[in-house]
Assembly symmetry: C2
Homo-oligomer: 340 residues x 2
C-alpha cells in the first residue's frame, strides 16, 4: 500500500491512498483523515486502507484524482519523534580517516543515533530554507521507517514487526555548525535543519524481495543540479538494519506510533575507503561531506563547496522496472526571506 | 489561565480549564478538545478559553467538576518537540569541577540544549518505569515553557512573545548510560527516559510579578521519599532566560506551536560551588547527580545512590500564599514489568 499527505492548509494535511504507479490517488476521510490518525489506530484502519488501495489499483475507485507530487507534504508533515541512525559505517570511517582518527570498536555493535527535530518537516518539493550559505548546507539522502507502538526493551524481532511504512528522507545538515555544536557534548541541534521526506510512504510488502532483513536493497538515486551524484545500494554496507535501529531507540523507553527512524546517509564502500564518483565509474555519494572527505584524504583539503542558494537536489528510488517507488524529493536551496 | 489534560483513553486526552485554586475544572470540547489543538489555533481560541476561565473562577460555570490531579496526563501527553536547555550553569560548573575540568567560556554565552524524545510523556502521577536500577535513574526538576509558532532567526524579543504556557517538568535521566552515550558524540538518546510534566500549565500572566525577564522567580520544591530535598529559586542563577533559550532553538529553523523548551535542572550557587543540603541550611538540589558531585568534590567519591524501585519524587511550586501553582508531579520508580 502507498500513502501520501496532500497539502490542504492544515498542519497535518489530508491522507490519500496512492496507486502503485503513482498516477492516481483518493482521500479517505471516512477511514482516516490524517496519516497520524491511521498510525494511531493501525490494526483497525490499515485493512480498510488496503481494500481501497486494491480497488484504486484496479481502476475501481470512482472519485480517484490524478496524483500530483507537487501538492504533497511529507507523509507526516509533523511527527512526535524523528530519530536518525548512522547505520552506514563507511560514512563514519571516512569522517575519521579524513582526520586520521580510529573508529571505536563499539561503533560496529552499538548504533549511533541522534534525536532530531520533528515539529515541522518541509514538503518534498518545498525549498530548503536557510538564512545564509555560510551554514554549510548539505543534503543527506537516507531511507526511513515509520513504526507503530514499541515496548521498552523490545527484541529485534518485535522491532521488525513494528515497522509500518518505509520512505526516503533528505536530512538537511548545516555542516559548518556541526564541529562547535558537537564539541559542546549535547549532540546536534542548530546544525540540523528541517528534514524533507519522499511524497509517498509504502508498506514493506510493497517492496517485495527488495525489502529483506529489514534493509531496502535498491540504489538510492541522488541528483545534484540535475546531474547524477549518487546511486549507492541502500541494502549494502548497512551495519545495522532497521529492526536493530528501532530496538536501539526502544532500549530504555517506549516508542509511540508514528515514530520515524532514519538509516543515516547511505554510503557504499566501493571496494576501498576512497570510493568513487559516478563520473569515475563509482556509485557516487549521498552527501557533499563525503566528497569533501575523499578530497581531504586524496589531496589534503576539500575542493567541493556546500550547497548555494539556487542549487537543487533530487532524491528518488526506482524498482527493477524503472518505476519510481516513493516519488521524488526535489528541492531548491532558498533564502528564508522568500518564505511567505 | 490554567490548563490541564485529563486522561480519557485517547492518546491526547481531554483539555480542561482549571480554576486558579486547582479545585475545579471544566472540559471545553466546543472550543478545543485538546491542548495541541488550542496551541495550533491560539490567537482564535485563547480568548474564548480565558472567558471560561474567568467564569470558572467566579463560580459561574454550571458543569464544572472537581479537579483531580491523579486523573491528569502531562498537559501535552505527546508533543512535536521537546528541547531541553541547561541554563543553570552552576550545574555544569559542578560537573566540571568534580572532574577537575574548566567550563568553556562559550558556555556563558551559547546555551547548551539537547533534543529530547517527545512521542510519549508520562503523566505527573504515573510511575517512572525502568527495566533495571542499574541505569542510574535520576530526577531533574526543571521549569518548561510551551511556545507558539516561531520564525527562523527570531529575536529574543519575538521569542519572548511566543511563550504561551509555563509548567514544571521531571526530566528523568539515566545517569549510568550518559558517559558512554555522550562519548559517541551524538548527544543523549537511551540515557533519557520519558519526561513527566506538572498537571497544570499556566499562562505567564498567571504568575504575576514572579514571571520577570522570562524567568520564574519562585522556589522549586523537590521532595525525595517525602522529605525535603531541594528548594532553589528558579529565577536565580539562570544564565539564559526562556526567551534566549527559545531564540537559540529557532536560530536555524522554525519552531511549530506546541514546542516545549526546558530550563535544565534548576541549581543555585548558594554562595559557593559546593552548595548545601536543606538539612545543612542550604536550598538543596534538584537532582541526585549534584549531590554526588558535591560529595566527589568534598571527599573524592559519591556516597549517595541513584533512585531505586519504590523511591518517590515530588516536584511542586507554591505562590507567595503557599498555594500550589501547577499541582504536583509525584512519581514512584517502578519496574517496567508492572506496566499494563
Amino acid at each position: 500500500m502507498k500513502l501520501a499527505t496532500l497539502k490542504n492548509g492544515s498542519r497535518d494535511g489530508a491522507l490519500v491512498i496512492v496507486s502503485r504507479d503513482l498516477s492516481r490517488c483518493v482521500a479517505v476521510p471516512h477511514i482516516a483523515a490524517t496519516l497520524q490518525h491511521a498510525l494511531d489506530n493501525w490494526d483497525a484502519i490499515a485493512p480498510r486502507l488496503e481494500q481501497t488501495y486494491a480497488a484504486l489499483n484496479a481502476g475501481a475507485v470512482a472519485d480517484a484524482q490524478p496524483f500530483d507530487q507537487l501538492q504533497c507534504h511529507s507523509p507526516l508533515p509533523r511527527a512526535y519523534q524523528w530519530a536518525d541512525g548512522s547505520a552506514y559505517i563507511n560514512h563514519v570511517e571516512l569522517v575519521r580517516k579524513a582526520r586520521n582518527a580510529e573508529v571505536p570498536a563499539s561503533f560496529y555493535t552499538d548504533p549511533l543515533m541522534y534525536q532530531g527535530g520533528s515539529d515541522s518537516f518541509i514538503g518534498p518539493h518545498d525549498p530548503i530554507y536557510a538564512l545564509t550559505e555560510d551554514w554549510g548546507i548539505d543534503l543527506e539522502a537516507e531511507v526511513a521507517a515509520i513504526t507503530g507502538d514499541v515496548r521498552m526493551g523490545a527484541s529485534v524481532d518485535d522491532a521488525a514487526k513494528a515497522i509500518r511504512l518505509v520512505m526516503l528522507v533528505n536530512d538537511v545538515s548545516l555542516r559548518n555548525l556541526i564541529p562547535n555544536e558537537l564539541a559542546k557534548g549535547f549532540g546536534f541541534f542548530q546544525s540540523k535543519a528541517a528534514s524533507a521526506f519522499s511524497p509517498v510512504a509504502v508498506t514493506p510488502d510493497e517492496l517485495g524481495a527488495h525489502w529483506a532483513d529489514t534493509k531496502l536493497h535498491l540504489p538510492l538515486l541522488v541528483e545534484l543540479n540535475h546531474r547524477p551524484f549518487g546511486r549507492p545500494n541502500a541494502g549494502e554496507d548497512m551495519t545495522f538494519n532497521f529492526a536493530q535501529l528501532v530496538a536501539h531507540a526502544a532500549a530504555t523507553r517506549e516508542l509511540a506510533a508514528g515514530t520515524i527512524i532514519g538509516s543515516g546517509t547511505v554510503s557504499n564502500k566501493q571496494g576501498s575507503l576512497h570510493g568513487s564518483s559516478i563520473e569515475n565509474g563509482g556509485v557516487g555519494y549521498c552527501c557533499l561531506a563525503e566528497v569533501r572527505m575523499y578530497e581531504t584524504i586524496e589531496s589534503g583539503k576539500p575542493q567541493t563547496g556546500y550547497l548555494k542558494f539556487g542549487d537543487s537536489v533530487r532524491i528518488e528510488m526506482r524498482d527493477a522496472d524503472g518505476a519510481s517507488i516513493f516519488g521524488a524529493i526535489e528541492q531548491t536551496v532558498t533564502h528564508y526571506r522568500e518564505r511567505g
